[in-house]
């Protein structure tokens, strides 16, 4: 059963009681909340994801509740939401209209702090014809904008935030959760993909105005189809620039990628070997862009890397 098949009232009741076990691909996420509006927003964003049977195991356990406030200011505390991971709050409470981004950041936090079966790099990942394009980048570089644009023009979304690289074979596991857009990129993607569902804008977060874009249904359906990395492209949005794709020396790319990794150092020799093999098999570029149409043309035309000897 998919989340979108669940009637809103049934969903709210289930999320309030035993919680919702959402199969997101590599991880089952259990979310519990008494906040009906949050349940509805999750239903809209995750409608194509499969629900796990009740009573199974989940990888991450999250609850979103009103914080327990002192008596007498209950009305104030009802306007707040707090996320609990294994009953421990990783973040301070925030206004209730920030519950969706806060939950998304908390799921990211779970992966960044609990997962070590993959080498994890902060990167968007997309796929065409079995070959993965990895877009690492710091916040604000334009990674998610490019990711959302490509995901709505023929590329399969593997992830907006995490490249999950399997040490055993170097393949990338998809984690096609909603794409997080910020500030000006919201309107850019609204024009680029007018049919894409976006969550209501949340203003005044620490990252500015944030929306989440529902992942394409086909990407969710193929959430277990891994892809082989072929290109690593470090994007930077530069207003008014002519799009420029510049080869990046691989040894330098190694350190850029290690710097974007959540667990390279934790994995030790396994992290070094996994990252080395990935860079060996990929072509690596820096990419300054301003036009999404031109970026799409350029990235589609990237030749496949030469096969390894």
């Amino acid at each position: 059963m998919k989340l979108g098949d669940l009637a809103p009232l049934d969903l709210a009741e289930r999320m309030k009681r035993q919680g919702l076990d959402l199969d997101t691909g590599p991880f089952v996420v259990r979310i519990t909340t008494p906040i009906a509006n949050l349940a509805n927003e999750l239903r809209a964003l995750y409608c194509d994801f499969t629900l796990e049977a009740e009573g199974g195991l989940a990888d991450f356990h999250l609850a979103v509740r009103h914080p327990a406030g002192p008596l007498g200011v209950r009305r104030y505390w009802r306007r707040q939401a707090k996320v609990y991971v294994d009953e421990t709050p990783p973040f301070e409470p925030l206004p209730i209209d920030m519950a969706v981004p806060m939950l998304e950041w908390s799921i990211n936090w779970c992966a960044a702090t609990q997962v070590n079966q993959y080498l994890m790099i902060h990167a968007a990942v997309l796929e065409r014809h079995g070959h993965a394009l990895v877009l690492p980048g710091v916040t604000g570089a334009g990674k998610s904008t490019l990711c959302a644009a490509l995901a709505h023009r023929g590329w399969r979304l593997l992830s907006d935030e995490f490249a999950l690289i399997q040490p055993a074979d170097g393949q990338i596991a998809p984690w096609p959760r909603p794409i997080s857009l910020k500030n000006l990129s919201v309107d850019v993607i609204r024009r680029w993909a007018p049919d894409a569902y976006m969550s209501p804008p949340v203003q005044n977060t620490t990252k500015g105005t944030v929306v989440h874009v529902r992942p394409p249904a086909e990407s969710v359906r193929r959430a277990r189809d891994r892809a082989t990395p072929a290109w690593i492209v470090f994007p930077t949005y530069e207003q008014g620039t002519a799009n420029r794709l510049t080869p990046l020396p691989k040894a330098r790319a190694f350190f850029r990628l290690a710097g974007c990794s959540f667990n390279y150092e934790t994995l030790g020799i396994q992290g070094f070997q996994t990252l080395s093999r990935m860079i060996e098999r990929c072509d690596v570029f820096e990419f300054a862009y301003s036009s999404l149409e031109d970026a799409l043309r350029l990235l589609v035309a990237l030749p496949l890397p030469a096969p390894l000897p």
Binding site: K250, A251, F254, I269, F272
Partner: protein, 98 residues
């Protein structure tokens, strides 16, 4: 009092190096410390010699000059000593008095 020529250089205790290189630039992972290092080809050659042939500084300089087919002069010796000093600061090598 000991001189520089008395110093024998060796990999730091517990070090085990793993190498990859692209376009004459090197990435070295030290399994002993968990640190990853970036080396140009000149520094990499010195560390490779030191990894295989730990020993006194003059012999090391001689071997590096041979490997790289470079004329041994004061300038080369200084560059090699500088590189060894950087390895030491990075925890890659240790001195052992002869």
């Amino acid at each position: 009092m000991s001189s520089a020529s008395d110093v024998e250089w060796q990999l730091a205790e517990g070090s085990r190096l793993h190498w990859v290189s692209w376009d004459r630039e090197y990435v070295v992972f030290n399994e002993g410390s968990g640190d990853t290092h970036f080396l140009d080809s000149f520094s990499a050659e010195i560390l490779k010699v030191l990894e295989q042939f730990p020993g006194p500084e003059p012999a090391l300089i001689e071997r590096v000059a041979d490997c790289l087919n470079l004329y041994r002069d004061a300038g080369l010796e200084r560059r090699i000593r500088d590189a060894i000093q950087k390895f030491r600061e990075a925890g890659l090598v240790d001195p052992a008095r002869a």
